[in-house]
């Protein structure tokens, strides 16, 4: 920051002292407060996790799927992707009390209050720690983008508009129908 140069740096030790469920994420050594999400945001994260779980079941595959689950990336970064997926082979390795390592897929649902972090800071951390697939859902503009890692750098792999389906790359065959995600109800 230009003016407030003497900002305190928070670490994972400070973060662990917070009450369970405190509305903070530790992003780049900063405690970032996230307001409670709105009803549309929560409906979308529920549907996303349901679609992933249904897909895994239909393929008879194992995997770990969670909403708003802490991921410990390093000393200065412990935060919750809106939805995350860890492949079967890596569950034992990284799924502990918190997730201690990089998931295979993370999805963030944008709002004006979190967009800076989702579009920039978290994206950089995901890239640095090798998150293979990063999806950003924008319920306001009603579109979605999917980034994949190529030689350690995120490449915009696909975009989808509100009447389209966004297909995952690492979960081959899984599609997210955006008109379904953006409607209020849950019926397919």
């Amino acid at each position: 920051m230009l003016i407030a140069e003497k900002k305190k740096k928070y670490t994972v030790d400070d973060y662990m002292l917070l009450e369970e469920g405190a509305p903070f994420q530790l992003i780049n050594y900063e405690l970032v407060m996230s307001p409670s999400p709105n009803s549309l945001h929560q409906a979308i994260s529920s549907k996303l996790s349901h679609l992933i779980i249904s897909f895994l079941n239909s393929e008879q595959r194992e995997g770990y799927v969670a909403i708003s689950m802490d991921v410990v990336f390093d000393e200065g970064n412990v935060f919750q992707p809106d939805v995350l997926y860890v492949s079967e082979e890596r569950i034992d390795e990284i799924v502990k009390d918190k997730i201690e390592g990089t998931p295979d897929l993370a999805i963030e649902i944008l709002s004006p209050s979190n967009a800076y972090h989702d579009l920039r800071v978290k994206r950089e951390i995901y890239e640095k720690y090798g998150l293979k697939e990063y999806i950003i859902i924008d319920p306001i503009s009603q579109n979605a983008v999917l980034y994949t890692l190529e030689n350690g750098v995120y490449v915009l792999h696909k975009t989808a508009q509100k009447n389209e389906v966004l297909y995952s790359v690492i979960l081959d065959g899984l599609g997210f129908d955006l008109s379904y995600l953006f409607k209020k109800g849950q019926k397919l």
Binding site: M1, L2, I3, E5, P35, N38, L40, L110, S111, P112, S113, A115, Y116, H117, L119, R120, V121, D138, P139, I140, S141, Q142, F182, K184
Partner: protein
């Protein structure tokens, strides 16, 4: 401010009778109010304006450089307040007192956490659609800057620099923004 796609739309008829000085932008048919800019934002804005004015004077340019917030009407769904914009000599005649009704050639947004969603997504898409030739985003949080130019109707990320580097304009050849001078502490 947490707008969702389901909110009733504001139309230009709701917006225009609100006269001057109302601190709202109309973005994709939604009225968006943002908090007043911070001291950092205004310091950076002043520094950039100074560099740009010196540059324009040095090349004897007859265009007009304007610091926001003022209304710039892109279409009936979008009346935006760019932080800094430039209008060429030939379009100057289209300026009116109340609002700007032509598309600027060059726009700079200085982003904060509150404005980032709009500056990086919705407003960027609107600028692209209307053919703003050069769009620069100054990130006061991450201390970075990026520059987009229109190629075949779409923005291409032309440069991305950190706080120690220089951003070289394509639209104004020979204009270089030294980030260390823009981001230096007060």
């Amino acid at each position: 401010m947490a707008l969702t796609g389901n909110k009733p739309k504001t139309t230009i008829d709701d917006y225009m009778p609100a006269k001057e000085g109302i601190p709202f932008q109309l973005i994709n048919n939604s009225a968006v109010g943002l908090p007043l800019p911070t001291v950092s934002h205004q310091v950076i804005l002043t520094r950039i304006i100074t560099i740009l004015l010196n540059f324009l004077n040095s090349i004897d340019d007859k265009g007009l450089l304007i610091a926001g917030p003022v209304d710039v009407k892109f279409d009936d769904q979008n009346i935006l307040h760019p932080d800094i914009f430039y209008i060429g000599e030939n379009e100057k005649s289209m300026l009116l007192n109340e609002s700007v009704k032509c598309v600027p050639d060059f726009i700079i947004e200085i982003i904060s956490t509150e404005s980032a969603y709009y500056d990086m997504r919705q407003k960027k898409d609107i600028y692209e659609r209307h053919g703003v030739k050069e769009y620069i985003i100054i990130d006061t949080i991450g201390l970075k800057a990026e520059l987009y130019n229109i190629t075949d109707g779409a923005y291409i990320l032309n440069q991305e620099v950190n706080e120690t580097e220089k951003l070289n304009s394509t639209f104004f050849r020979k204009l270089s923004l030294d980030m260390s001078k823009i981001f230096t502490a007060v």
